[in-house]
């Protein structure tokens, strides 16, 4: 009961913070539009790229254009949701720890990790979210996808845990900053590996495939779950793998974070 009320309290706090951010959004409408439009444009450009390629070839190693669009669209969703809620982890890597601003989170009556992430609701992510849903909408009629209660449930499970793969990678790399003061560039390097997940991993060589599957497992955020929905496969591997990887990364991340908080030394003065 006590645990439940704690979760309830977290949700309540989240709502309050999001409300604050939305007020800010109303204040700076043009800012929001530029940010979301930027995300939209960056995705549109990549789609033109893909359509130029597919105008010349019928399929890419057996994958049709619509199937690629489905995987691509699926890849955007967990990325966008993570972007929406945990964007402040980047600032841990860039400035918050280096400038000693982390002190304030330690004084809050909630866990420091929660206090950091709840502070920023990154509305730019709506651009990615929008493109992701549009791509799924466009591609679903063209791929053999069975819409059943089980598939919808698996879809939600896959989406939920894929998001935590993103968060986990960011959390682990951001925590490094507790010891090195600055880890933004390390977050960036590992985060960029997510780009590999947009395409079927079958196009990569063995080494790359191994890295994106087992080392920095972004393949489980898009290709494995998405391909399960359109070409079938072993759900225990394709979606179960997503769950396992997410739990693993988050556990390591939270462990490192807690160790880091203990090791944290504020910046002088």
């Amino acid at each position: 009961m006590k645990r439940l009320s704690k979760i309830h309290r977290m949700f309540k706090l989240h709502r309050i913070f999001i409300k604050q951010d939305l007020k800010r959004l109303m204040e700076y409408k043009i800012d929001f539009l530029t940010g979301a439009l930027g995300m939209l444009v960056s995705q549109a450009v990549e789609l033109v790229f893909l359509s130029v390629i597919f105008a010349q070839i019928p399929s890419l190693e057996g994958w049709t254009f619509t199937q690629i669009l489905f995987i691509y669209g699926f890849a955007l969703l967990p990325k966008a949701i993570d972007h929406l809620f945990t964007d402040n982890l980047w600032m841990i890597g860039y400035t918050i720890i280096r400038k000693g601003e982390f002190d304030k989170y330690l004084t809050r009556p909630v866990s420091s990790l929660f206090a950091v992430t709840v502070e920023k609701f990154q509305i730019d992510a709506f651009g990615e979210l929008f493109v992701g849903f549009v791509l799924l909408g466009i591609s679903i009629p063209g791929v053999s996808l069975e819409i059943s209660a089980l598939n919808i449930l698996l879809f939600i499970v896959a989406l939920f845990f894929s998001t935590f793969i993103y968060t986990g990678v960011k959390l682990i790399t951001a925590s490094v900053a507790f010891w090195t003061k600055r880890s933004g560039q390390i977050i960036y390097m590992f985060y960029m590996i997510n780009e590999f997940s947009k395409y079927p991993t079958t196009i990569y060589n063995k080494a790359v495939r191994f890295i994106v599957t087992y080392i920095v497992p972004f393949a489980f955020t898009a290709f494995f779950p998405a391909s399960y929905f359109i070409v079938g496969g072993n759900p225990w591997y394709n979606i179960g793998g997503t769950v396992v990887m997410a739990v693993l990364l988050m556990s390591i991340g939270i462990f490192l974070w807690n160790r880091g908080v203990k090791a944290y030394e504020s910046a002088g003065s």
Partner: protein
């Protein structure tokens, strides 16, 4: 000219120091960005395998791989942070300090950024060029490096940087209107990246669109130097593209000057 060098040398020096300070970060960022080249490499490899043909719209697989890495190198080296730097100064009002100093605002930025670029030259140039040449050697069985094309490429790259610098300074003035610098810059980088051939060679664009994009200033930023490097342009085409690059450089230089003169007269800065 010597006087100019003497006045602005300290800015270059400061730029070098700044870049040296952040060299480790720079390496990580470059590594993160090079990943994207490798994704494209695998993607194109699959495209050539699935297409079954020797060439894709006139590009062989070796051309395409060289294009991916050299265009990344060109974009990195010709990159200018001018828009962000100018925008930040306008936003926090420190641009006022630039006005009371007896130095040119654009040159001070330019010389500092040239200093910062030395680190990219040292850390990205050699490995990427060497990588591409080694790849070409193993793929074709002979040494494909052409010193003549390489030198022309370098001239074109310098022009590309200067055009980009003045274009970005002009863009930075949008900070008078837009407050989300990050968003505006992100959008600009995406659009410019596409129009300049940084994502796909402009040769892949259908007829009239391809011609139009070739004439726009953005082609001068990435596409032109890269096409020179991989030997896709002949003598006359190279001369013409240099002419076009010089034209766009002059265009943005004058535009920047006009906007600057106009805004100095009517500028009001918050606070004091």
């Amino acid at each position: 000219m010597r006087k100019i060098l003497k006045i602005y040398k300290p800015f270059t020096h400061a730029g070098v120091l700044l870049a040296a300070q952040y060299r480790v970060n720079f390496v990580f960022f470059i590594l993160g960005d090079v990943l994207r080249c490798f994704i494209n490499y695998f993607l194109w490899h699959a495209v050539f395998k699935s297409g079954g043909a020797e060439t894709f719209m006139g590009f062989s697989e070796i051309d395409m791989v060289s294009y991916i890495f050299i265009s990344f190198l060109t974009t990195t080296l010709a990159y200018s942070d001018g828009a962000y730097a100018v925008g930040e100064e306008i936003r926090d009002g420190s641009i006022a300090m630039r006005m009371i100093k007896p130095i040119r605002f654009d040159l001070a930025f330019l010389f500092q950024e040239l200093g910062e670029r030395t680190m990219s030259l040292l850390l990205a140039f050699l490995p990427l060029v060497a990588g591409v040449e080694i790849f070409r050697f193993f793929a074709t069985g002979r040494f494909a490096f052409n010193l003549w094309f390489f030198l022309l490429y370098f001239v074109s790259l310098v022009l590309a940087y200067l055009i980009n610098f003045y274009f970005n300074v002009c863009f930075g003035y949008t900070a008078f209107v837009l407050k989300n610098l990050w968003g505006a810059n992100f959008m600009k980088d995406c659009i410019v990246g596409f129009l300049s051939g940084g994502i796909i060679p402009l040769a892949f664009m259908p007829g009239w669109l391809g011609t139009a994009l070739n004439l726009l200033p953005f082609a001068s930023l990435t596409y032109t130097p890269v096409m020179i490097y991989i030997g896709k342009l002949d003598g006359i085409a190279i001369l013409l593209s240099f002419g076009l690059q010089i034209f766009w450089l002059a265009f943005f230089f004058v535009l920047q000057q006009v906007i600057w003169n106009a805004s100095v007269k009517r500028m009001s800065v918050q606070g004091g």
